[in-house]
């Protein structure tokens, strides 16, 4: 397993009080194997991002264990962690006008010594990552000039430049137009084919159905269902998940979700 989460209990200290805490995940189990694409679906505030943060090591769970490539996440050094796991956040606030290439190059940080600058080889890898997401021609442009969709592709390129074993993506499709969504599907599938495992949170069942090998439905901090998309993305389960009536229609082998 690339990523193994066992009986994870996690949350945040409650606002305004030292003792009380707000538990978000209640004993969640989660796996991602090499070559798999796991889509996590659930209503807003259900703990999807918390799950990613626990997998990344950014949030230390109150109970349970996280194993990455068979090793306890807490025992890894920063550089080791950075070479195994990478994150594509929904947005990243950038305060200064970096060029897109300079920004993507930051993805090489786990491979660059703390007193060194990236090598020519690192620049090559960063350029290749930009080509992969279709932004190669924009390498020299300023990061602050990008649109929300372009920014998301740049974030993805930075994560690819990290050459991780597992790619964690937080709603990667949120700002993308239809053509770029299709590109993203192809891109993530190509990454999975090279043996990486992909974990992403999504809001659109269509997007999950289009690329996931496994779908996890998260409801009130527990796993409602997990399995192949055709078994999990059913009208009955989705209706329970979101608390509204949802029907699934099949056409040309594709699932369409009416709500």
């Amino acid at each position: 397993m690339s990523l193994e989460l066992r009986r994870i209990v996690a949350g945040y200290p409650a606002h305004g009080s030292r003792e009380a805490r707000h538990e978000v995940l209640h004993e969640v189990d989660f796996d991602a194997s090499p070559g798999s694409i796991t889509a996590v679906l659930g209503p807003n505030g259900v703990g999807k991002t918390t799950l990613l943060n626990v997998a990344l090591g950014w949030i230390t769970p109150w109970a349970g264990t996280v194993n990455v490539e068979g090793r306890d996440l807490r025992t890894l050094t920063g550089a080791e962690r950075g070479r195994l796991l990478s994150l594509v956040p929904q947005t990243d606030h950038v305060a200064f006008e970096y060029s897109i290439l300079e920004y993507v190059l930051l993805g090489r940080a786990p491979y660059v010594g703390s007193m060194q600058s990236p090598s020519a080889g690192d620049v090559e890898i960063a350029r290749a990552a930009l080509e992969q997401v279709g932004m190669g021609a924009m390498a020299g442009r300023g990061i602050l000039e990008t649109s929300a969709g372009e920014r998301q592709l740049v974030l993805l390129a930075r994560a690819l430049a990290q050459e991780p074993r597992t790619l964690l993506l937080d709603e990667p499709s949120a700002h993308l137009d239809l053509a770029n969504k299709r590109r993203l599907v192809g891109l993530l599938q190509a990454q999975a084919d090279t043996g990486r495992s992909i974990v992403l949170t999504v809001h659109e069942p269509e997007f999950a159905a289009a690329l996931a090998t496994t779908v996890v439905l998260l409801r009130e901090g527990t796993v409602l269902a997990a399995g192949p998309p055709e078994e999990v993305l059913t009208g009955a389960l989705l209706s329970r998940l979101y608390g509204i009536s949802i029907s699934v229609h099949r056409s040309d082998g594709r699932a369409l979700f009416a709500w």
Partner: protein, 313 residues
């Protein structure tokens, strides 16, 4: 890069209207240049480079182009400590120095602790807000010290010192602060690419394998140590830490691999030029802080009006 800095600085002629032949013939002129001007010129270079580096480090760490040592309690803290011991004990200079370095660090620590306690706004806003509040507290403290100071002997010293000046620089004072400043600058210099990571959101820099909390703290300590030691020999010299990094980023881009050395260079040139103006333009002496504020603030307004400073968030 270092060599480039040195040669560029070396190009500066020792200012004034003295011809080099005079130096050879007149032993007094030689003494004057060696004992007064030279340490002062070196101090100006050190001050400018140190403030320039501290400025860009702080701006990058806080992901905020409007941060400078004066904004997060360091300068005012140092000033308060120095003014207090000046009035209370009339101590030797090295005591003033250490006390001001300590209170400068204290200023940052207090700002930081208060910002951690805020339940309001993002981290950057909280830090800047608490920095302003802490600076105001220390300024009030300086005001009280000035009020009780002996108006004839102590007040002029304090006032002149608060305005910033290198007039009292000597070899021994320079030797006392130079190691701290050089060490701090060297530390930031050696990690200048990695510094970029810390401009990102904490979770993102963590995902890139960094330990944002620890690495940020180390660089903060370095920047504070440099600033506080510099303030102890020069008093408050404003605007260098704010304007110089902006200019550097405009010239070579945001990547601190290049922007940090350029910031050091520009800072050195800026302060050296300002100090030269300060001591040559009139018979007496204009406090250096006034010159840098005058040039720095007008330069900054110019940049803002010409829409070349981007402030996001």
């Amino acid at each position: 890069m270092l060599v480039a800095v040195v040669t560029l600085v070396g190009r500066y002629p020792s200012p004034g209207f003295m011809s080099p032949t005079l130096l050879v013939r007149d032993p007094l002129a030689l003494r004057l240049v060696l004992d007064l001007r030279l340490p002062r010129i070196l101090a100006a270079v050190l001050l400018g480079a140190g403030l320039g580096v501290a400025g860009i480090v702080l701006q990058t760490l806080f992901g905020n182009p409007l941060v400078e040592p004066g904004l997060i309690g360091v300068s005012q803290g140092s000033a308060f400590g120095a003014a207090l011991v000046l009035v209370a004990f009339a101590p030797p200079l090295w005591v003033v120095q250490w006390v001001s370095a300590l209170t400068g660090g204290l200023g940052l620590l207090v700002s930081y602790r208060i910002a951690r306690r805020f339940r309001f706004g993002g981290w950057i806003l909280r830090l800047v807000l608490s920095g302003i509040a802490v600076s105001a507290l220390f300024s009030a403290g300086v005001g009280i010290v000035k009020f009780v100071a002996d108006p004839l002997s102590q007040l002029p010293t304090i006032t002149f010192w608060l305005l910033g000046s290198l007039a009292a620089t000597s070899w021994s004072r320079l030797a006392q602060v130079a190691p701290v400043v050089l060490l701090a600058v060297a530390y930031a210099w050696s990690r200048r690419w990695r510094l970029n990571l810390l401009a990102l959101e904490d979770r993102v820099s963590f995902s890139l394998g960094a330990s944002p909390g620890r690495e940020r703290l180390a660089l903060l300590v370095a920047a504070t140590a440099a600033t506080a030691s510099l303030v102890s020999i020069s008093g408050i010299v404003g605007w260098v830490g704010l304007l110089v990094p902006h200019a550097a980023r405009r010239l070579v881009g945001a990547d601190t691999t290049h922007a940090l050395p350029v910031s050091a260079l520009l800072g050195a040139v800026f302060v050296l030029a300002s100090d030269t103006v300060a001591r040559t333009i009139i018979v007496g002496e204009i406090p250096l802080g006034i010159v840098t504020s005058l040039i720095g603030a007008s330069g900054f307004i110019l940049l803002l009006v010409r829409n070349q400073v981007r402030v996001v968030r």
